[in-house]
Amino acid sequence: MVQRSRLHIPHAPARPGEEPDFSYLDLSPAGKVGKPSVHARTRDIEDLAGSLVRVIDDEHEAVGPWNPNLSDADLQVGLRHMMVNRIFDDRMVNWQRQGKISFYIKSTGEEAVSVAQAMALRPGDMLFPSYRNQGLFIARGRPLVDLMCQCLSNTRDMCKGRQMPIMYHWRDGKIFSISGNLTTQYPHAVGWAMAAAIKGEDHVAASWVGDGSTAEADFHYALLFASVYNAPVILNVVNNQYAISTFQGFAGGERRPFAARGLGFGMPGIRVDGNDFLAVYAVTQWAAERARQGEGPTLIEHVTYRAGAHSTSDDPSRYRPKNEWSKWPLGDPIERLKQHLIGNGRWSEARHEALKAELDADVVAAWKEAVSYGSLNDGPQLSGDLMFEDVFKEMPTHLKRQREQLRAEGD
């Protein structure tokens, strides 16, 4: 059966009961990766797809050419947003366990990706998120109450009860609708960016998918159209090592980093420490500048780790060691930015704890308000009539009749 070995089966680095093992990760030391001009030709910067841009070193210092040199204020805002993101997630998961909402997805360990990127982009730039990018809404200032109301499918739900929890959208905040179907938003972002170019605006589009989602056709379509038309778009792959139970090797991450997927189209790729707030910020700024100046799309791979379960329906202890996150070589994005600030004497454990308590109180207060607008089971309810609206712009006869029929059932 020698030939049988011709078939290769990727393996997760460790399964329950085994020791976590992240030796497969290629890591560059902080500050070591050079920063090319935004006008560099793709073929001259291919190495960016294999190395790892990092700014915060082991002493929590910001080092190297990618240091975005952010102001204290910006850094503290970033830390605050990530903390809100973390606390919001933890609270929502608890409320889900208590049956207050039907479902939830947290982004613990990946907060730097959404928060730093939202801050590095301009308000006019359009964001096409996946379901693990709540940090985008937080960093752009959407009140938590609104997000909670969506998760509660209550009378203030922006989706009028039609979407599962966390499938937010925000038209005025320029954040697109989250879809249950993986990767579909990727070509949308490319199309949006092409329209911006056609209209002669200088806005940029950005989209996010996970490592596993890169397997879908829409990933290919997006890279293809973005490179053919040189669309001003940032395509992010958040490589948190897992797709539910499936190791990223099954998405093709074993042989070559996801950042290299664009090279065959002539699209630059850049691999970044996704838990390094400063690195993510800098890389995003660089990619946005490329897009704005007509240099076209960039593929960014964020190397990070999904610290929690895939969703509240998942139990990761069935497929990976419980203590993997504690062994994750790139640490916790919040802790790392916090230590960076403390190291520079601009922050302290005490202030951090105080802020945490304050933010937690805010989240709880927001929840109190949100539930006052109802939930799936209690309080004010959305009218079932809403089910028939927005299928078409104007309700056609057959839906009006079905609405009548439902009203009759109610009686």
Binding site: M126, M158, C159, K160, R162, Q163, M167, H169, R171, F176, S177, S179, G180, N181, T184, Y186, P187, H188, A189, V190, G191, W192, A193, M194, A195, A196, I198, K199, A205, A217, D218, H220, Y221, A222, L224, F225, V228, Y229, E389, D390, V391, F392, K393, P396, T397, H398
Partner: protein, 337 residues
């Protein structure tokens, strides 16, 4: 009034919309420099430029996915899928995204776009250039589905489709591009200039969506059809000398139920005809609806005239195609009762 065939009428609709609305853009395979394999976009890129009329990679799913993004950014894309047989790679973007965007965002986002695609047989295209997949789309909530049967309607309906804020799948019966077709392949082809619906205004006008057209008034039986089969049914009815009322649906979803019901309640008999395969096809919905609405008026079972439940075979094109024989057999069946 000009004489136009369906290709020219569709081209005119896009020409006018490109001129009137700077947000209208066209994209698809071979639609730009070349003007489309059926010449429907001929001359438009030359006239409006490469940023308004775009050649696209051969990726129907990408074309639709990208078009949704264009639409979300304020444009009104008209995407061409070269043959309806090749629309399936775009099925997820059409069904999960384009059709449901307005619903899931409570109207905050929507996709004002049109997908044009040639459908139907009669050109020896075999199983992958002859399909009529409309029945797969009429089952998807949120899609407007259109199929014209003549140049006048084609132009007016395409303009309405581009102007509506709802996404439209617009099927073009390719056998009708150059002339009406009564189902007899042995007859010499007739041009649209012989048909009153070949008279098409040069300027802007629209034919309303969701409005069926009674192309022949009658009292003995109602024939509900659309696309190529409108002409086949007209010929069959004349040949059989039956006083049939023939309804051209034009828009399949949302369906103009009222017109159908009125007619069948009057005639008490109904034949439904389409070129697509029978089982689970759109004709089944028509039959079910008519039966529910007109049961007490029906004097005979509703008959369906369709293609067979097989792929569209190259050699047996005319055995497959629901020609006048099949229509007449159904008319006789429904009338003998």
């Amino acid at each position: 009034m000009a004489q136009m065939n369906m290709v020219q009428a569709l081209n005119s609709a896009m020409d006018i919309m490109l001129a009137r609305d700077p947000n209208v853009v066209i994209l698809g395979e071979d639609v730009g420099y070349f003007g489309g394999v059926f010449r429907v976009t001929e001359g438009l890129q030359r006239k409006y430029g490469e940023h308004r009329v775009l050649d696209a990679p051969i990726a129907e799913g990408g074309i639709v996915g990208v078009a949704i993004g264009l639409a979300v950014n304020g444009l009104r894309p008209v995407a061409e899928v070269q043959f309806a047989d090749y629309i399936y790679p775009a099925f997820d973007q059409i069904t999960s995204e384009m059709a449901r965007l307005r619903y899931r965002t409570a109207g905050d986002f929507f996709a004002p776009m049109t997908i044009r695609t040639p459908c139907g047989g009669g050109i020896r295209g075999g199983q992958t250039h002859s399909q009529s997949p409309e029945g797969i789309f009429t089952h998807v909530s949120g899609l407007t589905v259109v199929m014209p049967s003549n140049p006048y309607d084609a132009k007016g309906l395409l303009i309405s489709s581009i102007e509506t804020d709802d996404p439209v799948v617009f099927f073009e019966p390719k056998r009708l591009y150059n002339g009406p077709f009564d189902g007899d392949p042995n007859k010499p082809a007739v041009p649209w200039s012989t048909h009153k619906k070949g008279e098409v205004p040069d300027g802007h006008y629209s034919v309303p969506l969701s409005r069926a057209d009674i192309v022949r008034a009658g009292s003995a039986v109602t024939v509900i059809t659309y696309g190529t089969m409108v002409h086949v049914c007209q010929a069959a009815v004349e040949r059989a000398g039956v006083d049939a009322e023939i309804i051209d649906l034009r828009t399949l979803v949302p369906l103009d139920v009222e017109t159908l019901v009125k007619s069948v309640q009057k005639t008490g008999r109904c034949v439904i005809a389409h070129e697509a395969t029978r089982f689970g096809g759109y004709g089944a919905e028509l039959s079910a609806t008519v039966q529910e609405e007109c049961f007490w008026h029906l004097e005979a079972p509703i008959q369906r005239v369709t293609g067979w439940d097989t792929p569209y075979p190259h050699a047996f094109e005319w055995e497959y195609f629901p020609g006048q024989h099949r229509v007449i057999a159904a008319l006789e069946e429904v009338l003998k009762a």
